[in-house]
Symmetry: C2
Subunit: 204 residues, 2 copies
DNA sequence: ACCTGAACACCGTTCAAGT
DNA sequence: ACCTGAACACCGTTCAAGT
């Protein structure tokens, strides 16, 4: 049955929230590149120009959608283990939250400015590292590494499948090629996070 | 005086190379987002449609430009120290080569597929890690970490300046905020690479 | 205050037509 | 074989006009 004025509920008032929610949904379905202002407007049964009453431009909209994607991540509690268990859990949850919405994590790779939900997670990551006795400057500089790791892990599997080049001129790469994608994406992500944290703990 | 057939030298034949070189130059001047097929064509005094004789689409063109940016990176030699010195030097040189061309490194963040010049560097990074006695699987999985680090380091300073949020709700972040950008970009990049390599060496 | 249609200045890509 | 103009189907954003 097709929507009609009789079967469809009254059009909800346009709001920043409804725009951002619709955007995040479309990113999950179509990917960031395919989400245009016109398509978001269409999904909300309004005109593209109407969106600009509530948001500044497309970049801001994508940043808001990215922040929405991590808004419901629960911070680990004391029951979840020591600082490192909790940090790993928080990273895993954030990656999972982002991965649920297509390639929205790409916004975090390109665009450094985090929203309130992102800042809340960053704050907790910093707090946990400090809890672990990591020096302040190391905590601060390590945030970039954690952020990159989170974004990259969330995008695993989103990338275009690498077309097979001829690897003859690259002997080591050729030999190790099968190992590049060995294991599960999850196991690789956990291993990378362990590398980061072990490396962090090895600094003076 | 306006160019005319008399004053302007013969238009060089359009070629894949000249297209990619012009593209990389424009990325350096204007940034990736502002480089359109039409602008590249204009720089070469031709029509946008003509480019498609030599390249498949804009994505391929950006990938080719990215590869060109790292084509002249010299691989370190025996005189440059042990495997770790050489690896750090190779990473630094690659970052510098990318940073010379605006935000071309963003292509490497989003798009996994490397070209011949990128593969040559990846192959050498793998070889050096193996030289250092790192197990094959760790070398393979670590390449992602190194690649992300290289791209992110090359983009340092390219990002939009973060507008200052009110950090009151984020106590740890507020306290550590001054440290986030302390030191030089170069010192931070070197520190991050040390974290990665120390972490790598800490794996069983 | 909020929404809209129409317009502006662009895009990437294709294709028939030219040389 | 290579190049081109014109066209197609889009973009983000602005703005006068409506309610």
């Amino acid at each position: 049955m097709v929507d009609s004025p009789r079967t469809r509920p009254a059009k909800p008032a346009l709001s920043r929230d409804s725009i951002v929610t619709a955007t995040l949904g479309l990113v999950g379905e179509l990917g960031c590149a395919a989400v245009s202002m016109r398509r978001v407007a269409q999904a909300l049964d309004t005109a593209a120009a109407s969106l600009y009453v509530h948001i500044a431009d497309r970049d801001e909209l994508m940043r808001l959608a990215h922040d929405l994607a991590v808004r419901d991540v629960d911070l680990p509690t004391g029951a979840d283990g020591d600082w490192r268990d909790r940090l790993e859990l928080l990273v895993t949850r954030t990656v999972a939250a982002l991965a649920r919405h297509g390639d929205i994590a790409a916004v975090g790779l390109t665009d450094a400015a985090a929203g309130p939900a992102g800042l809340r997670i960053i704050d907790e990551l910093l707090r946990l590292m400090r809890d672990g006795g990591i020096p302040d400057r190391a905590c601060a500089w390590a945030i970039d590494l954690l952020g990159q790791h989170i974004a990259a892990a969330a995008l695993e599997g989103t990338a275009t499948p690498t077309h097979r080049d001829d690897l003859a001129p690259y002997p080591t790469l050729r030999e190790l090629a099968p190992l590049l994608t060995s294991g599960t994406p999850d196991a690789r992500a956990r291993w990378k996070l362990r590398v980061l944290l072990d490396g962090l703990l090895a600094q003076p």
